[in-house]
Point group: C2
Chain length 207, copies 2
């Protein structure tokens, strides 16, 4: 498809096709869809995208996306600022928030250490985390990075930086997903779920 | 996913999720991708979309998308304005143009007659086509609408409207795709390909 009847259409298709996972054919379909919509709707669409890039802020404490200088989680009096969950990115924050199980706060690293992709500790918000720890209000750091070599490397790097401070370091539990069957679980997860077994009493209802 | 840390992000995700085939999760992924891009790039993206809706024109002759009042195909002296190919939409024009086999011009109906979807002849550019025929320069109308009940209905409607004029009406050939095997071809296509068989001589090279 390269015989566009209009430069304006071609330009819009090329812009849409820059989005990840969207090829030229899908981009054309989207462009023709937008052409059929109300002009005010399309204006709102384009403006929302431009506003997203130009106006969004990053929380000065946890580096989560925010509309204010301090994000709603960090500024909430209901959250326990002594417990900090360290995550790779914003989507991880949203995933944990959706569980409704966590009352602490976050620290968004903005990535994990990956020599292959050229990401070193300096490109992440690790120093900022160490500064937060240095301030003395944090009692526990929960590591929630991916279980990959890069995740493990980053965990260990953080451990070395933070071990001098009187802060408990934990990692989120890895195990078999609720509802999953043992025979279909990979050995590493199954092995770990045995090593990290939980006292049964803590699982009883009412506790 | 509904705990957005930012209203601006939530708004952008909702706008992206209005696009056909894009759900909330994909929209979030796209929004976070856009957040990582250069502000000028994102501005160009948003502007291209708004411009698409506000500035694109439809050719006054064939109703194809155009940047000018008359599209490049209709205004080209190389095209044969006596042969008009009638198509449902703009993508059909692009598909035929990509073959490089057609030297005539087009007429874009903007849809086909569909009582189920509430599309009647008045919502299409059928009257405009009849006016073009009435002007007297058109010698042949090639029907290239879909082979559905709606397509057949539209073809017959056009036939009734145009048969009083001295214009030849043809339809594009339907048959087995080049390279396809007979045993995997549906009966209707196979049956039609026998009824509409082509003199072998016309297929010889050099003709």
């Amino acid at each position: 498809m390269d015989n566009y009847p209009s430069k304006i259409l071609e330009n819009a298709v090329n812009e849409l096709a820059k989005l990840p996972g969207i090829g030229k054919k899908t981009a054309l379909r989207l462009a023709l869809y937008l052409l059929r919509q109300d002009p005010a709707e399309v204006e709102a669409f384009g403006t929302a995208i431009i506003k997203l890039r130009n106006e969004i802020l990053y929380c000065k404490i946890c580096h989560n996306i925010s509309d204010e200088e301090i994000c709603p989680i960090c500024s909430s009096p209901k959250r326990n600022a002594a417990i900090v969950c360290v995550v790779e990115n914003i989507r991880d924050v949203m995933a944990i928030e959706n569980t409704g199980q966590f009352q602490g706060v976050y620290h968004v690293l903005g990535g994990i250490i990956s020599p292959v992709e050229g990401i070193g500790p300096d490109q992440l918000t690790i120093d900022k985390l160490v500064n937060r720890v240095r301030e003395g209000t944090i009692r526990e750091i929960i590591l929630a990075l991916p279980t990959t070599i890069e995740g493990d490397t980053t965990n260990f790097y953080l451990y070395k930086k933070i071990k001098e401070f009187p802060v408990k370091m934990t990692a989120i539990a890895r195990g078999i997903s609720i509802g999953d069957e043992l025979e279909y679980t990979d050995e590493v997860t199954l092995g770990r779920s045995i090593l990290n077994r939980t006292p049964y009493e803590t699982l009883l209802p009412g506790r």
